[in-house]
């Protein structure tokens, strides 16, 4: 069998906000969504691309460019993620696949997931949910935990801010529920975009009716991605937006808890 290949842009060890315990997160390159607040804009384009170097400068003091994203075989990824086995064991951690959108590279993902299961690693999939249902069917058995993003429940706004329709995302979520998978919902709280009382209420109401969600994480918007937009020479859409206050985050937490949900600020 030919070994599965894929394009990733990072493997981050000691990832501590992408599921339980100490984890290694593999970042897949390429995403069908283009969220305005995206913190990993280098994960959008499915191909390797140029990015301004953080350190290297040419003789005139301009930053030189380097390539972000590389093609790897599954075995290479497994070598890297296996290095922290002792930490996964101590912390009940494991491997998280994130991106980008991992489901955009289904063969590669599926191969990695089954290799992880062979190794006995706990697996988590950080996903936008935007993928054909048959892809979910293909990988579902080898994923222990879904970190499932919900951003906006208004279809028009969803299209405006993410570039895609909401329907498929909600349908897939219902499917995962039916299959009794463990799911954590993640909501990015972006002031003036996703933080309206109405949106939070809609998400709360929808999620609570699913009866299958173990936790809802509300993730305060931050400007971590900003520097990367500059380095990718892409426009940053959210210059004028400041992170939500701690008070506002607590209000949203309460609002969601009113739906009898287990809510956590941060991941």
């Amino acid at each position: 069998m030919k070994e599965a290949k894929g394009i990733i842009f990072d493997i981050k060890r000691f990832a501590v906000h992408d599921g339980p315990g100490i984890r290694t997160t593999v970042f897949f390159k390429g995403c069908p969504l283009k969220c305005w607040w995206c913190a990993n804009p280098e994960g959008q384009n499915p191909d390797p691309e140029e990015i301004l170097s953080l350190f290297n400068q040419d003789s005139e003091g301009n930053c030189t460019k380097e390539i972000i994203g590389r093609e790897v075989v599954a075995k290479e990824v497994m070598n890297e993620v296996s290095k922290d086995r002792v930490f996964y064991e101590e912390s009940e951690g494991g491997i998280t696949f994130s991106g980008g959108e991992p489901l955009l590279q289904p063969v590669f993902l599926s191969s990695l997931l089954s290799l992880c299961k062979e190794e006995g690693f706990h697996t988590a999939l950080d996903t936008s949910g935007y993928a054909p249902k048959d892809i979910f069917e293909e990988i579902i058995d080898n994923v222990d935990l879904f970190l499932y993003d919900l951003k906006l429940l208004n279809e028009e706004e969803h299209i405006k801010y993410t570039g895609v329709s909401l329907d498929l995302i909600l349908a897939n979520l219902r499917y995962l529920c039916k299959k009794k998978k463990e799911i954590i919902i993640r909501i990015p709280i972006v002031p003036s975009i996703t933080d309206s009382s109405e949106n939070i209420n809609q998400i709360g109401s929808f999620v609570s009716k699913l009866n299958c969600i173990s936790r809802v994480d509300i993730l305060p918007f931050n400007k971590m991605g900003e520097a990367k937009y500059r380095r990718l020479e892409k426009p940053y859409m959210l210059n004028n937006i400041t992170p939500p206050s701690e008070g506002r985050m607590n209000e949203i937490k309460k609002q969601l808890e009113a739906f009898d949900l287990n809510v956590k600020i941060g991941g």
Partner: protein, 787 residues
Amino acid sequence: MNERVSKLRSQSLNAQPTLSLERALLLTNFYQSGKADEVSIPVARALAFKHILENKKLCINEGELIVGERGPEPVSASTYPEICTHSLKDLEILDTRKKISFKVDEETKRLTQNKIIPFWKEKSIRKQIFSIMDEDWIEAYEAGVFTEFMEQRAPGHTVAGKKIFQKGFLNFKKEIKESLEKLDFQNDTNALQKQEQLKAMDIAADAIILLARRYSEKASDLAEIENNEERKGELKKIAEICTNVPANAPRNLWEALQHYWFIHLGVITELNTWDSFNPGRLDQNIYSFYKQDIEEENLTLDEIKELLQCFWIKFNNQPAPPKVGVTAEESNTYTDFCLINLGGVKEDGSDAVNELSFLLLDILEEMRILQPSSMVQISNKTPDDFLKRALKIVRTGFGQPSIFNTDAIIQELLNQGKSIVDARNGGASGCVETGAFGKESYILSGYFNLPKILEVTLNNGVDLRTGKKIGLETGDAADFESFDDLFNAYSKQVNHFVDIKIKGNNVIERLWAEILPSPFMSLLIDDCIEKGKDYNDGGAKYNTTYIQGVGLGTITDSLTSLKYNVFDNNIFTMKELLGAIESNFEENESIRCQIVRETPKYGNDEDYPDEIMQKIFDVYYTAVNGRPNTKGGFHRINLLPTTVHIYFGSVTKATPDGREEYQPLSEGVSPVQGMDIKGPTAVIKSASKIEHLKTGGTLLNQKFTPQFLADDDGIAKLAYLIRAYFRMDGHHIQFNVVSADTLREAQKTPEQHRNLIVRVAGYSDYFINLGESLQNEIIARTEHMAS
């Protein structure tokens, strides 16, 4: 803390350290009196000790519950002219240097010049050491290949065992008497020496009892004139306690603390021992007293806390004796390395954590003072709640407690041939040094500059900084045909310098044994009384001499760079690299870029550099380990730097890892600053490839921002990291919670701070990856959290 403690604490914190000649003058008076000439050397030392304790000024600070100062007042440091006779220039430096200064008044300078210098200058052990060492040793020492711990401070490096909390000095006197009675002058050719040592120990025991009696009388006198009834009562109580201890075994907690404190004062007055002294496993040693006082309702919990806090302050009142020269550079701090151990296992191997362990963590968190230092021992049996409680103190950014692996410590001690019970009763002291508490003399003899030895190797035996030939001629570096050729040459140089160092140690150890025995210390450590042998002469049950390897990260990255760039990939030639080093990389920035950015580095869990690290470790270990010392014990290695990586850096030219000349070396077993770019799990994996169990201690430093540790989740993740490291036999790890200043520094020099992980709400990322505005925001928040 209550008002009393708070007042004593701020007095201690705010006092300007001063230099006191009291001890030096009393010592000089005694030796000038001629009495020393009438008796053997150990007896003279003991009589001098007694003379000091008989005549020194007593000090009972207002409101304190544990009494006794080394100097005439708090935070005043004695001098030890028989060890190191300070010159007037030394005093000037001590008085005026920017860091770690000691105020020296005019009278002190005058007396030093007229009385101390004339009598001791030619006699001091420092003078004798430097006169007796051969040229090889002097040249290597001056080049900064190694340092010498015994040149101005005494061998101490030991910790109280449980015995001293269970016995009084009258018991020791009885044991001495029994040992004297057993002496067999007909068959034992050393009987006379033993007799003199035992007589000296007996006098030293009298001396400490005498000091306590004097304090008792002083407290009674103060009680007489005290108007405040409550304080009057306390002073009477102190007077009563000081009549019982340390002559007899303590009967309750207050007595136990005062008892220890007299012992501590005795040790640090007799000699300026390295790492002062240390109550060791404090939560074990005083637990029975604590329990009894609680059960019998002799003391309330608040009273117990107050006593412990008063006890804490006594340590902070004793800055490390003033150091000068290289010793000041290698250990530039007021702290005297009294490292209190909490947790670990009992001597039957079961978990030792008790409620007092937790209480003592509360105390050290609340006191938040430099001294005493503290650590927790974590075994695989230690409950997580104890580890997490300790980590919550770590996150306050105060550098304490450090975290140690009990199971590794036990294995290390067993590997050195100690009994299982002695190993379980042991711990770590100083920075990270493993010891069998109460039974071992484990002397650190000096730091050993591994990167400097590579420099000498690359220059065919020549010290590049001075042009002097100090090493072997192992060949022109450009002629090495393979990495193995180079590594063999390096290995020969290491052995050459280890030989020189050990030769020196074997002479210096004898000087201390013969000229400056320590009868008081000999009372405290088994089996000195039984053997009739001084602590400095092999009286302890176990006698170990360490040479501390420094710069593991720098030497590993340097040899890795040579292998990778010169031999394996032909990216540049040896000649080009040596040229770049000579010019401090100024003419060859591209070579430096290749090294810094494109060459594998230790600390990233990559086999290429990590296997070289293991080879380096092996060469050093094999060169040192098992070589006999003069006390019936052996030389061993450990890997720690205190502050010497800065001094060693300052004598080492640019290195093949891209480090610029005279910059600090890496510290402990940590990777080169900023070269670990794959996060803490990778650092821990790399560091765990060291065979910690073959050492007597290693030091690993990790940095975190306070935000990362802000919630329970962060604490839990840190606990997992530690457990994983310890499962892989890691010896020690400490966490520096970084300050806003460090982050500002990272903005300016991102390349040296590639390892800093910060957390913003639900996300973590490397600090240098963030945009400037977000970096500024994190700096502001870090400042806020630290305040």
